[in-house]
């Protein structure tokens, strides 16, 4: 695929995705950060499904300039084939311009990946988050950045872009993510092992078939014991996010979508 054709695809998909979002007005949860996005995204979707909310997530790693609009439109990639891309564009147009299209009330849980300075601006020109989950800032995909602080600046733009009733879920074990809380005038829920986190891990026990986690929720001081069949610290963060999402979306799906449709 040559660069010119790529630009056309990118431009066309961007506008189709924007119109589509304007039509269906979903609740958008964006998962960003340099590691652990996949499992956090899955955990957020699981939490919503458990509450019977309709939910859709990114396909595979469709999380950048072309992948993100494809995820929004729920379309596959044309990969290296000119013909397949034409078909994708045709289907994208069909989704946007069909008359009497059904309005899908749903959550979209989307990963966003940024691999260069200002990269987030383009993604934000397509979609703005209602809920934002930030994982970590590490050296992965950092070759285009001067330093880790420059990556954190990209995530700061995401916090700033939150909608009026937005929610930021921040990993307080990562100092750069934690420092972004100061830039949010929206609701922030923190999580992690940190003593300052709202959803705080008190203890982890590795057992033969997974991990047992004891977490405490502040300010209610509520204690929860949760077991996961997966291994590794990143799954502990996924559990924290799942609990936060469950806690934050308490009302029924019809009431919730009625509410967001009337928002300014």
């Amino acid at each position: 695929m040559n660069n010119f054709f790529k630009l056309i695809i990118q431009f066309f998909l961007k506008w189709c995705a924007k119109i589509y979002l304007w039509q269906i007005k979903p609740h958008i949860i964006v998962v960003a950060g340099t590691t652990g996005r996949h499992w956090i995204k899955e955990a957020a979707a699981e939490a919503l499904k458990e509450k019977n909310f309709p939910v859709r997530t990114n396909r595979k790693n469709f999380n950048a300039e072309i992948g993100l609009p494809l995820s929004i439109l729920d379309l596959p990639s044309g990969e290296g084939s000119f013909r397949r891309w034409l078909n994708v564009l045709y289907r994208a147009a069909g989704m946007v311009f069909r008359p009497n299209a059904p309005i899908l009330k749903q959550f979209l849980v989307l990963e966003m990946a940024v691999d260069r300075p200002e990269g987030i601006n383009y993604l934000l020109s397509i979609v703005k988050p209602n809920t934002l989950i930030l994982t970590t800032v590490t050296m992965i995909y950092a070759e285009n950045f001067e330093n880790l602080d420059e990556i954190a600046l990209e995530y700061k733009k995401l916090i700033k872009a939150l909608r009026w009733n937005g929610l930021a879920i921040l990993n307080f074990d990562d100092q750069r993510i934690k420092s972004l809380a100061a830039f949010s005038d929206k609701r922030v829920i923190s999580c992690g092992f940190s003593g300052e986190a709202d959803f705080q891990v008190k203890n982890i026990k590795k057992v033969s078939d997974g991990q047992e986690i004891k977490l405490q929720i502040y300010p209610s001081n509520q204690i929860r014991l949760i077991k996961t069949h997966r291994f590794g610290k990143h799954h502990v963060y996924a559990i924290l996010v799942k609990e936060i999402i469950k806690e934050s979306f308490q009302i029924s799906a019809p009431d919730f979508f009625k509410q967001i449709r009337t928002e300014p």
């Binding site: 590691t35 652990g36 290296g80 070759e143 033969s208 291994f231």
Partner: protein
């Protein structure tokens, strides 16, 4: 002078390839190399990384975190849950993973530990490089028989007899190379039970798990249940299971030298020390290619599987035309068939004569252990053209010397 290497032989597979390379117009069904090139989407991922300027430096010893995250996701799709940070190592192919594992788990007498654990049980026949890797790690290979009449399944009586206090590990190649047989879930669990009681590691080499053609072979007559079973799916066994996998066969990437192993953190934290001293890290450009493979090449794997199944049926049809020369068990997985040479025992002589007289290279069965004697391994990973040409030459030869059906004794 060379104490460690004096009993180690260059793999007979490579020896046959070497001999074959000197003969003009040879057709080789010897080495297990896919006939396909690496899929474009994988090459693009490697090129993209190359152009981004991220492949010139070492990665972390465990491998690129983004690749290990992808591996964790891929394993989870198959019901295996391992922590990408501490329980997965990206290796230079599966043989490096196996060698690093053997060097970790074998305790030779000279180690002066309180308990010598230097015996590694492997099935006969199984992959020719295992015994040499075991010897290189200071261990002693011990063969347990597979029963040909029972479609190359495990002889449990024989296996149990071989387990003793010196047993460090059991290697299971599933689907098996060279027989193409698949060990059913119940048999694998029986091995696991025996290993658990005696605190023996099980090294699961599953590089052909994506090339499985018959559901019944896995004890799953219902097509819906067609899922390859791995002992690594049982979390309670994770402390004794070390699973190795390679991208070489499944994604046609033999030259990229890329694979991985996974196990409980307790084992992996030890194996990584050996991995570090052997290779520092797997080739970084190959690691980026592997991300592309695991993320985007499922469709190509499906195409390969269909092609190999067609080629398996093709080579079996050719073998059916030589009922007085070979008998065989139809392989359920991998891309090898392991026919028995009728009326002749010496597989090395047979393979050498076949090479000399028909210019067709195969691997003598003795390379895969004592039970492999009297057989040859033929790879149907090669193209249809190569398979047809090789089998035509073999048929022509036997027909020319002994009438329509031929006899193996003519070689």
């Amino acid at each position: 002078m060379f104490f460690r290497t004096k009993n180690i032989k260059l793999s007979p597979i490579k020896q046959m390839e070497l001999l074959a390379s000197k003969i003009p117009d040879v057709v080789s069904l010897a080495q297990g190399i896919p006939s396909f090139d690496t899929p474009e989407i994988i090459k693009k991922a490697a090129l993209k990384a190359l152009n981004r300027g991220v492949v010139a430096k070492y990665s972390l010893t465990y491998g690129l975190p983004e690749l290990r995250e992808t591996i964790e996701q891929k394993l989870a799709e198959d019901g295996m849950h391992y922590d990408f940070e501490k329980e997965i190592i990206v290796t230079a192919g599966s043989i490096e993973a196996i060698t690093a594992t053997l060097l970790t788990v074998i305790q030779p007498p000279e180690a002066k530990s309180h308990r010598v654990k230097n015996e590694v049980i492997l099935f006969s026949p199984s992959y020719a490089s295992y015994p040499e890797a075991i010897k290189a790690a200071g261990g002693r290979p011990v063969f347990a028989n597979l029963i040909e009449e029972n479609n190359w399944q495990i002889d449990f009586k024989n296996l149990i007899k071989k387990i003793n206090s010196r047993t460090a590990a059991i290697i299971i190649c599933n689907p098996n190379n060279p027989t193409g047989a698949i060990f059913p879930k119940d048999d694998l669990l029986k091995i696991a039970e025996a290993a658990w009681k005696k605190k023996i590691f099980i090294i699961c080499d599953e590089v052909y798990k994506d090339f499985v053609y018959d559901s019944t072979a896995m004890g799953a007559p219902d097509v819906q249940k067609l899922k390859f079973f791995s002992l690594a799916q049982i979390p309670e066994l994770r402390k004794i299971i070390i699973r190795v996998f390679s991208l070489s066969k499944v994604y046609a990437m033999t030259g990229w030298r890329i694979g991985f192993l996974h196990s409980d953190e307790e084992n992996v934290s030890e194996i990584v020390k050996i991995h570090d001293s052997l290779v520092t890290c797997a080739p970084v450009i190959s690691q980026y290619a592997a991300i592309g493979a695991l993320d985007f090449a499922d469709k190509e794997v499906g195409t390969f599987r269909t092609k190999y199944q067609e080629r398996r049926d093709l080579i079996c049809r050719h073998l059916d035309d030589l009922p007085n020369v070979f008998s065989y068990q139809k392989p359920s997985g991998s891309y090898f068939v392991f026919p028995k040479i009728l009326k002749l025992k010496n597989s090395l002589r047979f393979a050498l004569n076949l090479l000399e007289r028909t210019r067709v290279a195969v691997v003598p069965g003795i390379a895969f252990g004592p039970s492999g004697e009297g057989h040859i391994r033929m790879s149907f990973g090669r193209s249809e053209k190569d398979i047809n040409e090789a089998m035509k030459r073999i048929k022509d030869y036997f027909v020319s010397v002994d009438g329509s059906k031929g006899k193996a004794s003519n070689l």
